[in-house]
């Protein structure tokens, strides 16, 4: 089977899964829908591997295969095929997306078991994977935009999945609106590039860009900045990051799939895919690196103080994607994508562990870590896997996150100059990363067991009243809300299986690129970045190990600090809050980004909308235009209306008067 055929099948299976589940859901009893969805994505993964094997059989310079089903758009001057591009980068993304997705599907089979909307959930989930695959396999800007918008919609549908929760629907709308900002930017970027190059397919645009633009051309920088805005919206970077924390209203596996492992890495993929443009416009790339750096530091500080377990992981995601954006926009492509892969493993794992703990807290359970504690004995499996995830996140030596994060930072030191600032600040943020990672571990799993944990130790999962932890309103359990049974990893094998695989990958995922030992990933991705001027710029193994040592120390310092603050002297945070109330308020309110948008965008827009409704619509359109027209017609017809009295005699009289009038007229005329 050729690589392109396999790639088409990779796309076809999730689409088939979506269609089957959404059309035949009435005939799918029990967990059937979940298994169909899981099988579709796993099949997709298998075809992804087949495509990989076939691609590796090609000589290195021929690993850019394109294939087109039919001509999608063809008018004067515009030509876009329904075509895919199969190269190492897209296959890498396909494997990460389908691999992690199939595990998350497997986890969901059990986790969502008693949810009233089980089949709707899997139809959405399969559609999401399909959209994501369109995004990464699309061979031209048209398909990229289609996939980009589909992914935004799928994310909206899944965040608002429990649609009777007002907080969930609001979060969904917020995510969708911010994503549309990115969609518009992407479309404008494509227009801008099309205007100058006249082409839409990636390879053509990149080649033509070198002919029509001069290096650092203003137009090219503008196009790259628009691409950056699109990436920021999807990947939750400053200033478009606010939706991701609210997106935690969705079911936890959704957070693992979309808001940690796959969708939010679309922006990283976009920049990696567009690297010929960014390398030709270094100013735009530097701005992207600054955005990534600012995001990774800001999100890490917020993750230190928020108390919602899922939101800590969400801010950690924002921060880690900051690393990836820094990586790909300083042209450490391989390192950035390597971090994308390892992050997908350990972040999905952390979310799965969080889901298990939240289940143990009861239905609609409070995800606040203030109410958790001591789950170590009650949930040994969850504890161990969560600990592995936290170690990888904290870049503990020889876990997967250790190799990937330090690769990015070592590369930036190697580039020298201002890029060394990135390395230094990156290590500062790494300390904070280790701190918040172990803050979660210590607060949730250590300390005195909370009542829910004691109940579980006695063999019974706590059942809380279904209520929305955000607003306190009672949940409508009839329309897709986790039903009476809530699944914890210790008791369901699908969850256990998915988490075990991810735990192993989080531990040993680093072997793909151990400095001085293995170069698997670098060799594999090389054809995609061979024309990059930074492709050969790889820090020497000794440099990498030096920075690895620094990273290891940073990680250990962070873990030690976390141990001091949240284990050894448990009152430390309270004392710190008392000492620095302003700083705490600033961080707990997430740097006031939400308030900024509220007062800067939402409120003015709402005021303008209100003005339009009360003044323009009601006064001008309704009263003036419509009311005026009605008035004119009413006055103009008042005589005609008064004649229509409804009395028979009046009509008869008018008839007679008319007749006599006519008779009189003819008499006068004839005489």
């Amino acid at each position: 089977m050729s690589a392109t055929t396999a790639a088409w099948l990779v796309l076809a299976l999730p689409l088939a899964g979506t269609l089957i589940i959404s059309l035949l859901w009435r005939f799918l009893p029990g967990r059937t829908a979940g298994w169909i969805g899981t099988a579709a994505i796993f099949g997709s993964f298998v075809f992804g591997v087949l495509a990989l094997l076939d691609l590796q059989d090609h000589p290195e310079e021929e690993r850019h295969l394109t294939s087109s089903l039919f001509s999608y758009v063809e008018t004067a001057g515009v030509k876009a095929d329904m075509g895919i591009l199969v190269d190492p980068l897209s296959i890498f993304m396909v494997l990460v997306v389908t691999g992690v997705s199939s595990l998350i599907h497997l986890y969901s089979v059990a986790y969502m078991d008693s949810d009233a909307g089980y089949r709707r959930y899997f139809a959405y989930l399969n559609f999401f994977v399909f959209s994501m695959l369109v995004l990464v396999l699309g061979g031209n800007f048209v398909l990229l935009i289609v996939g980009w918008a589909f992914v935004g919609f799928a994310s909206y549908a899944l965040i608002s999945y429990w649609y009777r929760r007002t907080t969930a629907t609001r979060a969904g709308m917020k995510a969708f609106v911010i994503n549309v900002v990115g969609d518009v930017a992407l479309v404008l970027a494509a227009f801008l590039l099309f205007k100058d190059t006249g082409l839409l397919d990636f390879a053509g645009v990149f080649e033509e860009a070198h002919n029509v633009y001069t290096p650092n051309d203003g137009t090219l920088i503008a196009a790259c900045l628009l691409l950056l805005i699109a990436a920021c919206a999807k990947s939750a970077q400053i200033p478009l990051h606010t939706w991701l924390a609210d997106a935690m209203e969705g079911p936890t596996p959704v957070s693992a799939l979309i808001h940690a492992a796959t969708m939010v890495t679309a922006g990283v993929y976009l920049i990696a895919r567009m690297h010929p443009l960014f390398e030709f416009a270094p100013t735009a790339a530097d701005i992207a690196a600054i955005v990534g750096l600012a995001t990774l530091i800001m999100a890490a500080t917020i993750a230190l103080v928020v108390t919602d377990l899922k939101r800590i992981i969400a801010y950690s995601t924002i921060s880690q994607i900051g690393y990836m954006i820094v990586g790909v926009s300083t042209f450490a492509h391989v390192a950035g994508l390597f971090h994308l892969m390892t992050h997908a493993f350990f972040k999905a794992l952390l979310f799965m562990g969080a889901g298990s703990v939240i289940s143990a807290m009861g239905v609609g359970g409070d995800a606040s870590i203030d109410r958790m504690g001591g789950f170590r004995k009650a949930m040994p499996f969850t504890f161990i896997t969560f600990l592995i995830g936290a170690l990888a996140l904290a870049a503990f030596p020889f876990t997967s996150g250790f190799f990937s994060k330090d690769a990015i930072l070592a590369f930036n030191w190697e580039r020298g100059g201002g890029y060394r600032i990135i390395t230094i600040l990156g290590f500062v943020a790494a300390v904070m990363t280790a701190m918040y990672a172990f803050r979660m571990v210590f607060r949730v799993f250590f300390g005195d067991p909370v009542p829910e944990a004691r109940e579980l130790e006695e063999g019974h999962v706590h059942h809380a009243e279904p209520h929305n932890p955000g607003t306190g309103e009672p949940e409508d359990t009839d329309v897709g809300y986790p039903g009476p049974d809530h699944a914890i990893a210790e008791r369901t094998w699908p969850m256990k299986a998915a988490m075990s695989v991810l735990a192993v990958l989080s531990l040993i995922g680093g072997i793909a690129l151990v400095p001085g030992v293995t170069k698997t990933l670098e060799h594999f991705l090389h054809p995609s970045f061979e024309e990059s001027e930074f492709a050969e710029m790889v820090p020497s193994a000794s440099t990498e190990w030096t920075f690895g040592a620094v990273g290891g120390v940073a990680s250990l310092v962070g873990i030690a600090l976390a141990y001091m603050i949240w284990m050894r002297r448990r009152g430390t945070t309270a004392r710190l809050i008392d000492r620095f109330p302003a700083a705490h308020r600033f961080l707990a309110n997430k740097w006031y980004w939400d308030e900024l948008y509220d007062y800067g965008v939402v409120k003015p827009t709402a005021a303008f909308g209100n003005f339009g409704r009360t003044v323009i619509e009601s006064r001008f359109v309704q009263d003036t235009i419509i009311g005026g027209a009605v008035g004119v017609v009413r006055v103009g017809t008042s005589f005609a209306r008064s004649v229509q009295s409804g009395y028979l005699r009046a009509y008869a009289l008018l008839l007679l008067i008319g007749m006599f009038g006519l008779a009189l007229y003819f008499l006068i005329v004839s005489s």
Binding site: V643, Q644, S645, G646, Y647, L648, R649, L656
Partner: protein, 99 residues
Amino acid sequence: MDITWYIVLSAFIFAIGVAGVLTRRNPLVILLCLELMLNAGNLALIGFSRMWGNGDGQVFALIVMVVAACEVTIGLGLIVALYRRRIPIDVDEVSELRG
């Protein structure tokens, strides 16, 4: 006999019919008055026919009678329909079609 008398009589009967149609409220009486007006017209037609000495006017008169018979049928049908719906037999009561 002079044609004038016929015309004068016809005009009188027609005027009585008009007065009845315009003043009475009972639809039955209005129908009767309509008949009067039609028959006044018939009388004039017959009179003219006699004056000219041919049968054209009489043909018209016959046609008017047929039309009158149809009109009475419909009129009485309407009155029965009103009665069945327990609407007062009074033309002023059925004035919904006012503007």
